[in-house]
Symmetry: C2
Amino acid sequence: MMTNKITDLLKIKYPIIQGGMVWCSGWRLASAVSNSGGLGLLGAGSMTPELLREHIQKCQAETDQPFGVNVPLMYPEIEGIMQTILDTGVKVVVSSAGNPKTWTKRLQDNGITVIHVVSSSKFARKAEEAGVDAIVAEGFEAGGHNGREETATFALIPLVRKAVSLPLIAAGGIATGEGMLAAMCLGADGVQMGTRFALTEESSANRAFKELCIRLNEGDTLLSLKKLSPTRLIKNELFQQIQEAEDRGADSAELLALLGKGRTRIGIFEGDLANGELEIGQIAAAVKSIEPVATVMQQLISEYNARLSDLQSFHLFEE
Amino acid sequence: MMTNKITDLLKIKYPIIQGGMVWCSGWRLASAVSNSGGLGLLGAGSMTPELLREHIQKCQAETDQPFGVNVPLMYPEIEGIMQTILDTGVKVVVSSAGNPKTWTKRLQDNGITVIHVVSSSKFARKAEEAGVDAIVAEGFEAGGHNGREETATFALIPLVRKAVSLPLIAAGGIATGEGMLAAMCLGADGVQMGTRFALTEESSANRAFKELCIRLNEGDTLLSLKKLSPTRLIKNELFQQIQEAEDRGADSAELLALLGKGRTRIGIFEGDLANGELEIGQIAAAVKSIEPVATVMQQLISEYNARLSDLQSFHLFEE
């Protein structure tokens, strides 16, 4: 049986991590991914500590396989979120959007494997210094919040690979087994996929949001809100309002006022496709149906194996 | 000896094309690449028809291997450029930035292989309808002029692969043999590299420009000038002026006035690093030395072979 640094570290069958996403990744999605041989993640970014506790307990009831929690470290209720994680015996934390020094050691001292999400080699080195167990390097293609430097996956992965020796998980633009193998060519040990899993049956995103996403073409998302926090959004009515304001030089205060509160909830969870902030990755253009997680996982492994077999028939070039 | 659709089509040893670039790719660079087993391209975008004729003749004197010319189709002197190409017996034209219908048939009727550069599946389908022989799909990571949809290489290549059946060359973010193999995992038959070859000894870019580029880190370039034609630039003093104007909502007329004329020449060719428009790709951050083309080509093939051998030792995952 094929294993590598990531399957060994996380005690999973396949080096495939389901990205923790706001309003998509509750216990149904995370447990389905873990039961299919990947690592499921609950997305704490759209949960109170109490709601997270409920999702962790339901996930534990549904699977005896490892799963984790994605925690944006700038989250206002971060203390409560972390206490819930420590109380409930979660095995893996994927932290993002904040300083990995603050929590890593305390989590590890409680037997938790800590993975940190970065968008650059510089942040990868900082995460390594903070003592994390592995790194997710996420490129510009990814949906939702995104790095300011806009480094895309094809350039990012080899640069991070060279910068740190930790197990490396590639993210951004990956939704197929071929993509998984390509990421490994660039130096990754595993992959994190958000978009592919956000658009499964078990994702808690609104059906209308999923249906819109599987009809997207290339160019139907764009990195927006660069004066606040760069975020990849579908070009819906809200996006057009933001774009128009940015084009005429609106400042961050005006953009914050235009956005107001709860825009991801009303878009992704409630399905208001005109007025919601609709976060999804560029690779949505390659996802054309809403399937159960088990089917997606089988497809990924079968695509990966088929492409690897192709490559194994390639000859070397004459040097 | 390993061959594929691209080596067969272009009658070259390795499926590696050197991107045609303004102010970098004259006869020295193109002939060196062709003599090393790739396809060298002259960049007509910074040449008059007369200067192009001189470069073609020098290139023909230096190599008996195939080489080509990159032609931006919106070029003001396009008739003269194409006449020069037809007069001098050039074998390959790589066209970009314009409608491939206008010239493809006439070039092919004269025995020329025509490749068109696209930034999306939609444009790839149009190029296929226009009858081109192959496609370069170039992602957001690339230096210089870039697609409006900002699709990055990791998402772009599989989508274009699905959209058209033509031989497919991946570009944007590729500067190593591992990147070449990763592009093939995603469905490409070959690669085009601009940045890697712009920073060789034989490139006609100013030494000061090359020295700056090999010291770049991730995030030192950004896609700019989106109200004119999106262009990836190094964040120098000129970039900061553009950025400041864009942030306060400057319109295209103001941006044109700020730019004036000849900014790529004074930056890339004359080496004015503060006031020039400095075009290079994100992957410059992975290029750390200025080598002769022959050395670069040997490294690419050796890296490709080593990574392919690694993959050939991988086991399939249990399905």
